[in-house]
Symmetry: C2
Subunit: 342 residues, 2 copies
Amino acid sequence: MLSPIRWEDGALALLDQRRLPAEEAWLRCEKPEQVAEAISGMAVRGAPAIGIAAAYGVALAVRDTADPAAARRRFEEAFDLLAATRPTAANLGWALERASLALERALDRAEPAAEALLTLAHDLEESQLAADRRLARLGAELLSEGDRVLTHCNTGALATGGYGTAGGVIQAAFEFGRLRSVWVNETRPLLQGSRLTAWELQRAGIPFRVVTEASLGALMGRGLVDRVLVGADRIAANGDVANKIGTYPIAVLAERHGVPFYVAAPRSTIDPGAASGEAIPIEERDPREVTSVLDRAVAPPGTVAVNWAFDVTPHALVKAIVTEVGVLEPPYGESIASALAT
Amino acid sequence: MLSPIRWEDGALALLDQRRLPAEEAWLRCEKPEQVAEAISGMAVRGAPAIGIAAAYGVALAVRDTADPAAARRRFEEAFDLLAATRPTAANLGWALERASLALERALDRAEPAAEALLTLAHDLEESQLAADRRLARLGAELLSEGDRVLTHCNTGALATGGYGTAGGVIQAAFEFGRLRSVWVNETRPLLQGSRLTAWELQRAGIPFRVVTEASLGALMGRGLVDRVLVGADRIAANGDVANKIGTYPIAVLAERHGVPFYVAAPRSTIDPGAASGEAIPIEERDPREVTSVLDRAVAPPGTVAVNWAFDVTPHALVKAIVTEVGVLEPPYGESIASALAT
């Protein structure tokens, strides 16, 4: 399995996912500013992977200083910079808060800040992999032999730095003989489905076909989808799910056609501070992501586009949320509260 | 207003819509084979425009022969070739049947076949423009001042060779002060929304913004769409509507969000031989239209894609069908039958 995040020779190496599948190029980040740029530019993407990259980013910020006050100042600058890159991803703020606690503990104990933060980043990466594997096993049990699963965007190892969320469930289900094939939604505007998920599934030897989002109604209408499995960028306390734009229309179609709709995400994606989806900030990205494809214009000069990166799927459309601490079912207010208390 | 179809110096000139908006290039067709290639390759597209181009195509087939038997043979070859290019477009078969009647009448009267077929093609073009204008006026009356209309694919002059169907309604409504702005759905895979509709609206000075199909749930969820207006490629006798892939998901979202969903199409789009949407043949196109954009790959080599060109929207989701002979409302079995009897 390929991890898109590596700590190498005292720097953070990130697989530049913008250039996949054409080439496997790595970015070397030695400063938090470079990590922030890689996150906001989507060289690294997927809420859990963003969280891990940000943890390495704050570790880079403090590594050249022994002075506690300077370390705290540099940490805070890097924290603010990184936290602002992708406002919707819950795991980003979660990972940075963990780093903040680790820094304070190290400073309290007069231990080296850089070492403490680097250890934390490594720990987050390892625990992400462990959580993903548990989540994948639990999710795979929901599937049945012969299932044709529709997925959205990319939720494999590329998206988490571990084993994947919905992508991990797909991988595990395929290994357990509980999955026949995958429908990959191309996922405009940045085509993470056709560029990244197709690339991962091809490497894993899992049968798949790509479709446009426009095709999803026909696909479900023809009875070709048995289940939908998607990831999440932030889950509210009531079970509303913010995920890559296009998720909500899939959930609406799935409901109409009686196709169960599942969300797979680590517990760190749940934001208990958001009472419902309305409280989740939705990132709006550069309209040129819509008016051009692979840097070539597909609309006349001067065309204005709107480019929300996420939408919110109301909890009533979600059959279950698969986490590493269990499969959460409605009523989500209760199941989420008890998952967070675990 | 620009017509994408011109008869010039004894040949058919077609604006190559594949190359818009980057350049305005014209194809010159002197043989029916060239017209067939332009239709199947989507240099000319939109069900009404395809019908007109095909009528010119059969006129080209017979123009060098004075012998009635040879004319009939060449006509039939061209008819079969052209009829097979885009199986879903009702107007294609309709226009070719009209040409067939015109040929037989000319041969019966010992009149020149080529002249008769050319006259028919010109007539179809003129009556399309007249029908489009009537339809546009009727449709515009359904809109209200301040409306923000969502449209799909391209349904303007480029799509009909006249004034446009849904695009004509938009144009007329804007002129009558009954439309504030247009949401243009980019319409994967061939991006007729961002490439063609944006180009037409920009030339017409109508305010618009482009969005991906993935954004449509968020767009309606935020209350930013007042009406949906789309065209049609074939309408069944019960009111089921085959239109560009992605139309059905829009209709489902529109129903959920209480947004009226209108179809605008000339009467020639209605196929009384199709009892319901299930009887409408759905064209499946080259998967490379999905796995590449502007001829550049967006998926790994070897990726399989499914590329249905159309989907079917059940009549229950359609608030009204705007034609040149009136606004048809449910129950469609009755309103369509009486429109056809007009």
